[in-house]
């Protein structure tokens, strides 16, 4: 008998097996109490509330969202670039600095990156109270570290021989450094930096659900009062903002703009960023430094964990990551395979758009209407949200690829689905899995959001510990979160390098 051999395509489908335990748990926890509400929610999507008052609130909330998202994007981009350069090997080589500083900086950035902006937001809100600045700072902390990693990775790609040749000209160190890093920084900003603005809008919406302000706050308040028509007005408003910002950024084609124009923008952004930072430093240390209402609790708090419970929560978080990742990987190719026609693909596009649009906390609250809190419920929520993102990428790549092989197979009389599987999908399987590996890094961080809302994993414990100002517990949870994220990142890094 032949041995079973796995390839990228089969590995993509196997994670669908996670649906067995998920479906079982969802089935035994199912109740029909919220079916009416769900029906109302779905109908309201087509009948959002529109009147002067709500339009006024919507515009106000969208303005807040734009303000928080833009400020955090700008600051995180500027400092991301700076830290990206500082954490690159070329920086240390050119300036002849000891390499342990780089390792120290990378460790610090990894910690910042490994904790979701929502957790930073909750912690900062607990310390400083609710305001816009908290939202901006909470987003900036992980975003700066994420941007720094992307910029640093691109800078590391510079050919070392080019570095040698510029070094050999023997200019001053800073001239050499800027000459070498300029092009990769500008390229990365064009390819990655502009997209991060959309991410900042989504993060602002999620933080808004926890009271930071912006459209998320209105979404959450509408949900709490079960005012679904109002909720959909805000959700469509958010969709409008995301689509418009994307279109505007696409129009803002940097490759066609002159170098002078581009660099003027970079300098202007740099100045604005520095100004913003100085404002926030002032805000934190001088304006709002005194009402650090929990300082006493910080000093007297102690660890009240039951280690068994803590390990259970840790394990729950890991299981949640695995189940969600399984769904995010396997759902898109399976649904595209099953609904492999024009109408089917359009349906997939619409559904995935909605799952991307509805923030995971709102989605889980919807699902909680007819299911009890469980890991499976959190996993299906997080999995569906991320499957919507991976399906968008997969569809785009399938659309852009050369279809000769698919056409050739179909012309041989092979069934449409088999032709798609072996003629189209096989070519994308490797890169799709590599992207999913990257996505699972994000899923690990996002488990925190679902934990807080869906009462599972460490997120739930974090909420409890924050509410009781048990700072030592908060610290232990942060370290646990960070450790899971770092280990996950290392494993995913290995997978990515094997696939690409």
């Amino acid at each position: 008998m032949n041995k079973l051999k796995l390839n990228s395509s089969s590995i993509t489908f196997i994670p669908i097996l996670v649906c067995i335990p998920i479906a079982y748990e969802l089935f035994i926890n199912f109740h029909i109490g919220g079916i009416e509400l769900l029906k109302e929610f779905i109908i309201s999507a087509l009948n959002p509330k529109i009147n002067n008052e709500i339009i006024f609130t919507l515009v106000k909330r969208l303005n807040e969202t734009i303000f928080i998202a833009f400020s955090s994007w700008l600051i995180s981009m500027i400092f991301g670039i700076i830290f990206g350069i500082l954490s690159s090997e070329i920086f240390f080589k050119i300036l002849n600095l000891p390499i342990f500083l780089k390792r120290f900086l990378n460790l610090f950035l990894t910690f910042m990156r490994s904790i979701h902006e929502m957790i930073w937001g909750l912690i900062l809100m607990q310390i400083y109270g609710i305001n816009f600045s908290i939202g901006i700072i909470a987003i900036c902390i992980p975003y700066i570290a994420i941007n720094a990693k992307v910029f640093s990775d691109q800078i590391e790609n510079i050919n070392l021989k080019t570095v040698e040749s510029i070094k050999q000209i023997n200019g001053n160190k800073y001239s050499t450094l800027i000459t070498l890093v300029w092009a990769p920084v500008i390229e990365t900003f064009k390819n990655f930096g502009l997209y991060r603005f959309e991410c900042a809008i989504r993060s602002t919406a999620i933080l808004g659900l926890f009271g930071v302000g912006g459209i998320g706050t209105s979404i959450f308040l509408s949900f709490q009062t079960l005012n679904f028509r109002e909720l959909w007005t805000y959700l469509w408003g958010l969709a409008f903002l995301i689509i418009i910002s994307k279109e505007l950024l696409n129009k803002f084609n940097l490759s066609n703009s002159s170098k002078k124009f581009l660099t003027s923008i970079v300098i202007a952004l740099f100045c604005i960023g520095l100004f913003s930072l100085s404002f926030f430093v002032y805000f934190i240390f001088y304006k709002n430094g005194i009402p650090f209402n929990s300082i006493n609790n910080l000093l007297i708090s102690n660890l009240n964990f039951n280690s068994y419970d803590f390990l259970k929560l840790l394990l729950e978080t890991i299981v949640l990551c695995l189940l969600s990742t399984g769904i995010a990987i396997s759902f898109p190719p399976i649904f595209i395979l099953i609904l492999n026609n024009q109408i089917g693909i359009t349906i997939i596009r619409i559904i995935s758009f909605l799952f991307r649009l509805i923030p995971p906390p709102v989605l889980i609250l919807l699902l909680l209407m007819f299911n009890d809190p469980s890991i499976s419920l959190a996993a299906i929520t997080l999995g569906l949200h991320n499957a919507a993102i991976t399906s968008k990428l997969l569809l785009a790549n399938l659309y852009n690829q050369d279809n000769k092989q698919y056409i050739a197979m179909k012309s041989l009389g092979i069934a449409k689905r088999s032709s798609w599987l072996f003629g189209s999908f096989v070519k994308q399987a490797n890169s799709y899995l590599a992207y999913c590996a990257y996505r699972s890094d994000i899923i690990i961080r996002e488990t925190a959001i679902l934990g807080v809302i869906g009462s599972v994993g460490l997120g739930w414990q974090l909420k409890e510990s924050l509410s009781s100002f048990a700072w030592e517990e908060v610290l232990v949870i942060l370290i646990a979160y960070s450790s899971i994220a770092i280990i996950g990142e290392l494993i995913n890094g290995k997978i990515k390098s094997n696939l690409t």
Binding site: T162, I169, G171, S175, T179
Partner: protein, 245 residues
């Protein structure tokens, strides 16, 4: 005895691939025009990288102006310019920005920044690019978008604009047609020309083409990481060449 400009004393070097340069000694005096001959893999590029300080020898010493390389300041180091075999240009910058990079050794950080912003003066770069037979239409093109021969001349212009005293060139005539080869060879070997640009007085060029030896006054032959002969051009005989090829 005239002090050498550049001196290699009993230099040994071993790289990751176990290629070895064994106890090589060499003295280069001002005004010399040296052709470095040898088969591929004979050690010519390694020797050039040791001479410009990019590689550090495992044994022996490399001295410029009678000073160990490690003890030289940036100004002294900038007296050497190099044309690399693989050119080592910055792909995302334009041809003129790449040539301007050659001026980094003599200019401030502000110049480097202005060069990247495309607002620095390109007069000098253009002058050298024209001398290297580059047409104005490619000045502002990105390196990735010009031909191999044009890239070769951009790399040559970048090293010439440094206005160094010593030029080390590793197969600079690659990718050039016969007419351009002749023009560039004349440019690299003649210190004053009609364009009144400064060309390094001392030149070491590694190459394969024996028909281009006119104009050189010293020939060095290398094989398997060793210098097999080092003599005046007039004393070069066919059997010398047979030793290395």
């Amino acid at each position: 005895m005239i002090n050498p400009l550049l001196e290699l004393k009993e230099v040994s070097y071993k790289n990751k691939n176990n290629f070895t340069l064994n106890k090589v000694s060499l003295r280069i005096k001002s005004g010399e025009k040296i052709a470095l001959l040898g088969k591929n893999g004979s050690g010519k590029s390694t020797l050039i990288s040791l001479l410009n300080g990019t590689l550090k020898p495992n044994k022996g010493s490399v001295k410029l102006f009678n000073t160990e390389f490690d003890k030289l300041n940036l100004y002294q180091k900038s007296k050497i310019s190099t044309i690399w075999q693989d050119l080592r240009l910055i792909e995302d910058l334009s041809a003129e920005q790449n040539v301007n990079c050659g001026l980094l050794g003599k200019q401030s950080f502000l110049f480097a920044f202005k060069n990247l912003l495309n607002i620095s003066s390109f007069n000098k770069a253009h002058q050298y690019m024209q001398v290297c037979n580059l047409k104005e239409s490619i000045f502002s093109k990105k390196i990735g978008k010009i031909s191999g021969g044009q890239k070769q001349r951009v790399a040559i212009a970048r090293s010439l604009v440094q206005e160094s005293d010593i030029l080390l060139a590793d197969e600079p005539f690659n990718n050039l047609d016969p007419k351009l080869t002749s023009n560039i060879k004349n440019l690299l070997l003649i210190t004053k020309n009609k364009n009144k640009i400064k060309v390094p007085n001392t030149t070491l060029i590694s190459m394969h083409r024996l028909d281009l030896l006119d104009g050189f006054n010293r020939i060095i032959g290398m094989k398997n990481g060793e210098i097999l002969f080092d003599l005046e051009k007039t004393k070069l005989k066919k059997f010398h060449l047979n030793k290395i090829y």
